[in-house]
């Protein structure tokens, strides 16, 4: 009975804390400006199914894709066992699904075990890739400190989680063979799970009944405890992508990548300027909102999708590896743009929750996190957008910050200021008269 109560408390605290922290993230994301992504539902579901569920874009690099898929499949399938653990924990039963499902149960747990072994191997390779191999994208400046530790912690937690599964199933297997398991006896010799029927006797065959029950319980409690630890680690980690990848791909930008947004606030002003009948001194109509800032200086000037992107980013660095500016030694790293956005959003959100909605800490995403030098190194080539396995768009953040710099701060590289004034004066980025546009026709 006491264990049921402990379990129930663990369950409530585990899920409750996760819900609480997820709500904070949700409110942070909703700090962003509105953007309509409610159209084309069918295409959105399809995108999510292909990109998030099917991991289509991961398979551009087959080796990491296969390893990643092993982990992903194991994670998804293990949820079935987790349901059983929760039912058992709350009812005091043991392997409650087994008598109901029979042979299918054996198949299911075997499947989980095989995937767990594959996931174990994949996790080891990932750890080695991160720490032993010199893969540049894992060793860039934005990956020092917490991001590196974060990546390793997740992998280590996964290894521990898998160990607990085999402690639980392995010890229980030995107990079952000796007719001592709490699982309902179905008259068979063994559970017959694909891996633990061998691993169990090999590792725990020499233990006595009390020790076996202890190992089995450590595995069981350890497993569920790690699950809740992991769940509550997510909101503080890049690993949140395992959940956010789904909404993030659903709300993908479905337009052509070359189409940048036309700022409506600017359209209004330009139409007014070009309308000969407009009265430039007219008072704005009473219900009009104060004009919003042009472009983005801080996180609340970005759209909620940009902010969702930042929480979805798992810092894999494919964007940065593909970035022409980064490859040629410039400061710009699209991954850093996403990480900065998330870090600033966390900071801002915390400050606002503590000090009220209008709190201003005097800092901003642009300049305190992202420098002008990074902004202006972008060629807008869309390689980062193309590469991202979960359809994150670092380019639109860069563009919105350029807009703020130029339209609100008049901060622009000198040569570009020249280009701009040429377009203003003669309709071309160079100093040629518009009247000469057809001269080429008669030149030889």
């Amino acid at each position: 009975m006491i264990s049921i109560i402990i379990f129930a408390v663990l369950l409530i605290v585990g899920i409750g804390a996760f819900a609480l922290n997820s709500r904070k993230i949700r409110s942070n994301i909703l700090m962003g400006r509105d953007v309509d992504r409610s159209d084309q539902k069918g295409k959105r579901w399809k995108t999510m199914a292909l990109i998030a569920f099917g991991q289509k874009k991961m398979f551009k690099r087959p080796l990491p894709a296969i390893l990643h898929f092993m982990l992903y499949a194991a994670f998804v399938i293990t949820q079935i066992e987790l349901i059983e653990i929760i039912v058992d924990g709350l009812s005091g039963d043991h392997r409650v699904f087994r008598s109901a499902l029979g042979g299918f149960y054996t198949f299911m747990i075997s499947f989980i075990e095989i995937l767990s072994v594959l996931a174990f191997i994949a996790t080891f390779i990932f750890l080695a890739r991160r720490n032993l191999l010199h893969i540049p994208r894992f060793r860039m400046r934005e990956m020092k400190g917490w991001p590196k530790l974060d990546g390793n912690l997740i992998l280590i937690m996964e290894l521990i989680l898998i160990c607990f599964i085999f402690m639980m199933n392995g010890a229980d297997e030995v107990l079952y063979r000796r007719d001592l398991s709490h699982a309902t006896a179905l008259g068979d010799e063994s559970f017959g799970f694909a891996i633990s029927q061998f691993v169990g006797p090999a590792l725990f065959g020499g233990l006595d009944e009390a020790a076996l029950h202890t190992v089995e319980r450590i595995g069981w409690w350890g497993h569920i405890f790690m699950v809740f630890t992991f769940l509550n680690y997510l909101p503080f980690s890049k690993h949140f992508h395992i959940l956010l990848a789904f909404p993030n791909t659903f709300y993908s930008n479905l337009e052509k990548k070359g189409k940048f947004t036309n700022m409506e606030s600017v359209t209004k002003e330009v139409k007014l300027m070009m309308d000969p009948d407009a009265d430039p001194y007219a008072a704005p109509a009473g219900d009009e909102q104060p004009p919003e800032r042009f472009g983005a200086k801080d996180v609340q000037d970005l759209t909620w999708k940009n902010l969702l992107d930042s929480y979805t980013c798992t810092e894999c660095g494919r964007c940065t590896a593909a970035c022409p500016a980064n490859q040629t030694g410039k400061l710009l790293s699209p991954r850093k743009i996403m990480m900065d956005t998330r870090d600033r959003l966390e900071e801002k959100g915390k400050g606002m929750r503590k000090n009220g909605k209008d709190y201003d800490d005097g800092k901003s995403l642009l300049n305190d996190y992202i420098t002008q030098e990074e902004l202006w190194a972008c060629t807008s080539c869309n390689a980062c957008v193309e590469e991202c396995p979960v359809n994150i768009d670092p380019l639109s953040i860069i563009m919105d910050m350029r807009r703020y710099s130029v339209m609100e701060q008049s901060e622009i590289p000198t040569e570009l200021a020249g280009m701009i004034s040429n377009i203003e004066n003669n309709g071309a980025p160079w100093q040629f008269s518009q009247d000469d546009r057809l001269n080429w026709k008669d030149e030889e």
């Binding site: 052509k256 330009v270 022409p324 060629t379 869309n382 390689a383 563009m399 130029v406 980025p429």
Partner: protein, 264 residues
């Protein structure tokens, strides 16, 4: 020659009560850059050779606003867009072909919301359809037999608008060997000019983007680096010069290659 270099303006056509099938949007580079003007002429010759009834805006054309927008000046972009849309809608333009992927992208994707709705194609798409319709044959001109050609994907044609095949199909008519760079199509590396970089020095780094891209191209040991963008053309030409390969490797627009193969 002069027959092939007929370039009527919209104003002239309208005055003669004529309506062109398609407006040729030349673009700033195509109008003013000495290298790009040659590409413009190649496109004109192809259009005339295929009896495509086209016109240009001439002095009524102005920058689409692309570099202003990418440089963050949305005001100037929208001013340019609305002025151009007034002109285009005034002439009731339905279809546009551009000589530049940046103009193509802007006219096609960013003008509709501002009131400019046209059927916009890039010159590679139009020329490829002319070849498919049998209106243009590669006979009598320079032969590219035995030559190796590699195509550099302009970002604003490829990733930005998913046009990868039209330029490649065009090149297939040349009887040359097509070699892909290790980074091509969706993975193609930028030439370094996009996002208004064309008009400024690069930020501090350890290499120029165009040199990095030129190295990709030189890896396949091509005779010709083909592009579909006047800015890529400039960047790749500079890259080839940087590598001192200008004697053995040419940088050409696909339109130029087709025009020269068709003896125009």
């Amino acid at each position: 020659m002069s027959e092939l270099m007929k370039v009527p303006t919209m104003a002239e056509m309208t005055a003669n009560n004529e309506v062109p099938e398609v407006l040729f949007w030349v673009g700033c580079a195509g109008s003013f850059d000495d290298r790009a003007k040659k590409i413009t002429k190649a496109i004109v010759k192809i259009l005339n050779k295929c009896d495509v009834k086209f016109a240009v805006l001439g002095a009524e054309e102005s920058c689409t606003g692309d570099p202003a927008k990418r440089a963050g000046n949305e005001f100037l972009f929208q001013m340019q867009a609305m002025m151009n849309i007034q002109v285009l809608n005034g002439y009731e333009v339905k279809k546009i072909v551009t000589g530049c992927p940046h103009c193509f992208n802007t006219l096609k994707n960013e003008y509709p919301e501002l009131g400019g709705n046209y059927d916009v194609v890039h010159h590679t798409q139009l020329i490829q359809s002319l070849i498919e319709d049998g209106k243009l044959t590669m006979e009598g001109g320079d032969t590219f037999k035995g030559k190796k050609i590699t195509f550099h994907d302009p970002c604003y044609l490829g990733r930005a608008n998913d046009v990868y095949e039209a330029p490649r199909q065009m090149l297939q008519n040349l009887d040359a060997e097509l070699a892909e760079m290790k980074r091509c199509k969706t993975k193609g590396l930028c030439c370094g000019a996009g996002g208004a970089q064309m008009f400024k020095e690069a930020e501090k780094g350890d290499k120029e983007v165009n040199v990095e891209r030129t190295e990709d191209a030189l890896e396949v040991e091509p005779d010709v680096v083909a592009t579909g963008c006047p800015f890529c053309n400039t960047m790749m030409t500079d890259g080839i010069k940087n590598k001192e390969k200008e004697d053995s490797v040419q940088v050409m627009d696909v339109a130029e290659l087709i025009a020269s193969a068709a003896d125009l």
